[in-house]
């Protein structure tokens, strides 16, 4: 194994009353690489990030970040890490520039250095024009960018991004990916949490899948998907009574056994090449006189990874996209 681990968590437990937020988690993040922490809402990702970044004390476990003991050398850890949380932790009553200067000053940069760094970051994150406006006038995407900028003011060696794109629309998400890629190309170690397989796939060198406070799989994106076919085809039948018959007809096309939902007339198959297989699917069903309502081809989702690992689907309510909101406890 490599000696070069910038992030090490061993056997970390954190229970909140009955809830086992972390139930013996171990992860290792290599220096200069991107570690993706993938899991549904409530899996324990944020709890782990808060522990790794000194914000939360675990019940037990060993945590080292940048070679430092997170439990005993909090202050030193804070000098070498950056954190951008799930809720943009920026100050609404200040302008974008003032936010960055304040953070720079609290990292104990000189006034001049803090101002220069703020300028530089505003440019880098396409916020120059909005830099002197109050943050409360910013859009969700702008707040996230400012939050990210604030997290790298002191050029941290190790960066933690907790669901950096949750709540952003598709365009802002892709822009955020570009920003993150640029950020880590300079050799920063990154731990990124996400609910989206696609995001982990795009950004992470190694992925740890976590659910119910436990690591349930880890590896590169390719390794995780090795058990998965490359494409999925979702078919909704006109007559749900034909579901079993359709599943049987598609069994030879699908890599794994087709999943059939009789109540909804829904069949899912996985195939090597979706575009080629669609024709076969249509032919197979047509020859049995089974009518199709809808037919969709898609890339594997987090849910598919879960299914292949645990045999269970993610509970529906947990994968609903989150409300866009910045108040941590507003709804609690």
């Amino acid at each position: 194994m490599s000696n070069n681990h910038a992030i090490i968590a061993e056997d970390v437990y954190k229970h909140f009353g009955e809830i086992k937020a972390l139930d013996g988690v171990s992860i290792q993040g290599e220096a200069g690489k991107v570690l993706g922490l993938l899991g549904p809402n409530g899996a324990g990702k944020t709890t782990l990030v808060r522990i790794l970044t000194t914000l939360l004390k675990p019940d037990s476990g060993t945590i080292r970040v940048g070679g430092l003991n997170v439990l005993r050398q909090k202050r030193h850890v804070r000098e070498i890490i950056g954190l951008a949380g799930q809720y943009a932790a920026v100050d609404e009553v200040l302008t974008g520039r003032e936010n960055l200067v304040m953070v720079g000053r609290l990292y104990h940069l000189s006034r001049g250095d803090a101002m220069r760094r703020a300028d530089e970051l505003l440019r880098q994150f396409a916020l120059s024009d909005a830099g002197d406006r109050l943050v409360k006038t910013y859009s969700g995407g702008m707040r996230r960018r400012l939050d990210l900028a604030a997290s790298i003011v002191a050029r941290p060696r190790i960066l933690f991004l907790d669901e950096p794109t949750t709540g952003l629309d598709a365009r802002a998400r892709i822009a955020m990916w570009d920003t993150i890629r640029t950020l880590v190309s300079g050799g920063t170690t990154l731990l990124l949490t996400t609910q989206y397989l696609e995001e982990a796939d795009e950004l992470a060198d190694k992925i740890v899948v976590i659910d119910h406070g436990k690591v349930i799989a880890e590896g590169t994106s390719d390794e995780l998907k090795a058990n998965l076919a490359s494409d999925f085809i979702d078919i909704t039948l006109h007559d749900p009574d034909h579901t079993a018959k359709a599943a049987e007809a598609l069994a030879t096309i699908s890599v794994d056994a087709p999943q059939a939902d009789k109540a909804r007339g829904h069949v899912v198959i996985d195939v090597e090449n979706g575009a080629q297989s669609i024709a076969e699917v249509v032919r197979a069903l047509d020859s049995q006189d089974i009518h199709i309502d809808t037919l969709n081809m898609r890339r594997p989702s987090l849910n598919d990874v879960f299914l292949s690992i645990t045999g269970e689907e993610i509970v529906e309510e947990e994968i609903k996209p989150q409300r866009r909101g910045f108040g941590r406890r507003r709804s609690a």
Binding site: N3, T54, L68, M102
Partner: protein, 277 residues
Amino acid sequence: MTQQTATAAFSAGASQSSALQRFVWNFTDTLIVMRRNLYAYQRQPELLVFATIQPVIFLLLFTYVFGGAISFSTGGDYIGFLLPGIIIQTILFASANTTVGLSVDLSKGIIDRFRSLPMSRAAVLAGRTSADTLRGAFTVLIMIVAGTAIGFRFEDLGSGLIGLLLAVAFGYAVTWISATIGLFVKDPEAAQVAGFIWLFPLTFASSIFVPTQTMTADWLRAFAENQPVSVVANTVRDLMTGTVNPDEIVISLLWIAGIVAIFLPMAVWRYARVASR
């Protein structure tokens, strides 16, 4: 083995700040956070205007509505009696901002940001209490102007200023109580109530508006005469009306020091826990 190698590789670059430097940072960090809070007030001028108008309204109402009735027991000069008291009341009520402000900060992600920085932990709180104290001092200034307009005069400017300083110092001590409360309540809505409610008995069962000897219930008079608000209000009143009583001043300073000594550590202790949920 793995860990030792990693330690060697990483800690070389970490800036190991000295104890002296960290001590100095307590103050500079506090100033930075204080300035951030003052910006917030500056940018909500309506907040500042209303916070200033309210005590002026109190001053006018008490002087003209109750003044006639109360002046029998104060020996005639009610404005001279009232203004120092109302200054203490203003400063007490201003401290409720500390409760609300902290609670608002906690409800947003900004506290997580602060806590992930290598800054002084007490600075987030001290920056809040000192900003609110400055704001309180500003309001006191307005009160003096308003009071002068309706007939108040310092007997002796020097002792008068010392009295005002004592009032502001008392306000600073009280903001630490408010900060502690702000860290215990659940959300900003609760902070609105919790920030004020404990101030009413302390303000009204005191020598701020009426002389305590006019209170008929013995237990109430005993409380009103000895509680810190009365002690400080009496001292400030004496100083503003030209009487210097060293014993009184010492007792007031002891109250101020005692409140800070208890509530500052309690607030810092609570801050470390509340934010690490």
